[in-house]
Symmetry: C2
Subunit: 259 residues, 2 copies
Amino acid sequence: MTLPKQRTAALIIIGNEILSGRTQDKNLAYVATFLNQHGIRLMESRMILDDFDEIIEAVNTLRKRYDFVITTGGIGPTHDDITPEAIARAFGVPYEYHPESVIELKKHYTPEMLNEARMKMAKMPRGARLIRTPLSGAPAFAYENVYILAGVPKIMQSMLDSVKEEFGSGPSLLSRSITCLLPEGNVAEGLTKIQENHPHLEIGSYPFSREGIWGTVLVTRGFSYPEIDKACDEIKTMVTSLGGQLIEEQNIHENCPYH
Amino acid sequence: MTLPKQRTAALIIIGNEILSGRTQDKNLAYVATFLNQHGIRLMESRMILDDFDEIIEAVNTLRKRYDFVITTGGIGPTHDDITPEAIARAFGVPYEYHPESVIELKKHYTPEMLNEARMKMAKMPRGARLIRTPLSGAPAFAYENVYILAGVPKIMQSMLDSVKEEFGSGPSLLSRSITCLLPEGNVAEGLTKIQENHPHLEIGSYPFSREGIWGTVLVTRGFSYPEIDKACDEIKTMVTSLGGQLIEEQNIHENCPYH
C-alpha cells in the first residue's frame, strides 16, 4: 500500500473525561475530514490526560514528526484547563497575557463577568497567533505548526474554520465502499491479489455482523476515480464469483471525501 | 490533583478506518470501565494506522511505560491485518503458526472454509498466550503485558472477559457528577478552592450548551465516598451561593464505576 505523498497531521485529544470513558470524542472524525479536504492525512491521534508532562511530550514529539498538530481541550477558565501553559512550556517561551486576547475578552464579557478565572483564558505562549470565533470568548491560538483548539465540538469546528487558509490545499483522498454478505475470510485471498494489482490504492476490509450474519465492507481509497472504479469492479466480480451478495455501494467521496 | 497510585494501562487502537473518520471507535469507553473495575487507570490511548513501524513504535514505547497495554484491531485474515506480525517484530521473536491456535481453527472451520487466509490467523509471536472466545475463530493473544484483541466491539469484549483474571484487582476510582446552569467561568474560582481543599480528589469541569444556555458538569473523582460527598456538598453550596440552578446529580459509580 503506497499512496502518493500527502502532507501529514496528528491530533491530540486532551482531557481526563475522554480517557475515563465519560465523554465520547466527537472531534476526530470532523478533523480527519477537514484535513482531507485540504489534502492532509491524519496519521495518528493521541488521547492524553490533563497533565503537563503528558501534553509537553506529545506536542514536542508530534510537531517534529508531522506538518500540522491540532490539540483539542483544556483551554477554558478552570483549574483543570492547563493546555495553553503546557504549550508555552513545550516551546520554552513565557506564558503571559496576550495583549490582543485581553482586548477581545473585554469586548466579550461585562466587567462583572470578567473575573480572574476568565482573564486566565487570555494567557498563552508569547508570540502565539490568536484564533477567533464568534461562538465563544475562549480564545484559541496557534504556535508554529500547532493549533490549540477548544474541546466542545461546535466551538472547535468554528475555530478550525477561521484558520482554514493556513492549511493550504492538496489532493484529497477519495474512496468508494462496497458491502457484501461474505465473511472476511472468504474474500481475503482475492482481495490481496486486487491490492497487489493496484499498489497506488489502499484497500481496507472491515467485518461486521448483522443478525448473526457476517459481512464485510470493502473500502478502496486513492487519488484517482478511474483507478478506484477499476479496483471496485474487480472486487465486485470477485464477490459474485464467490457466490456473495452485494448489498450496498457508496461513493463516499461525494458527501464526505475521506473515509 | 494527587490521587493514590493505581496500576496503569494504555490502549492502542489500530486501523486506517478509525483515523479516516469512517469508523467511530466504541472500544475506549468499554476498556476504560473494564480497567477501572480492576483498579487500573487508562493513562493514554493512541490511534494509529495499519503500519508496521507505527505499531512497533507504539507498542514498544507504551509496554515499558505502563503495567498493561491493550491493542484493538488488525488480527483478521486480510492483507491489512498486520498486528500479530508487528507484535512479533516489536518483541524480536519469530512470527509463526501457534500449534494450539491451528487446532482451534480446525475445530472452528470446515476444511473448505479453512483457506490460507484464515490459517494466517493462527500465526503469532512465538510464545504468545492464546485468548479464546466462543464468538469468533479469530484468535487473540497476549505477549508479556500486551493484549492483542479484535477491533469488533462484541468480540473484543468477549476476549477481554476471558482473560480478566490476569488484570488482578485494586480499588476502583469512584465519581459523582453535579450539573448546574452556570457557565464554567462563574464556577472556576470557587472550584479551584474546593480542589485545593481536597488534594486526594480530582475535580473536572465540563462545559456544555443546551438551547443557547451554557452550563457546566462538575465531576468529582476519588477513592472514598465520604470525601467525594464532602466535596460535592461544597460544590452545591458554591453553585447556590452564585445563584446557579442545580439540575442534575448522579452517583455515576453506581452504574458504571469509572467516569
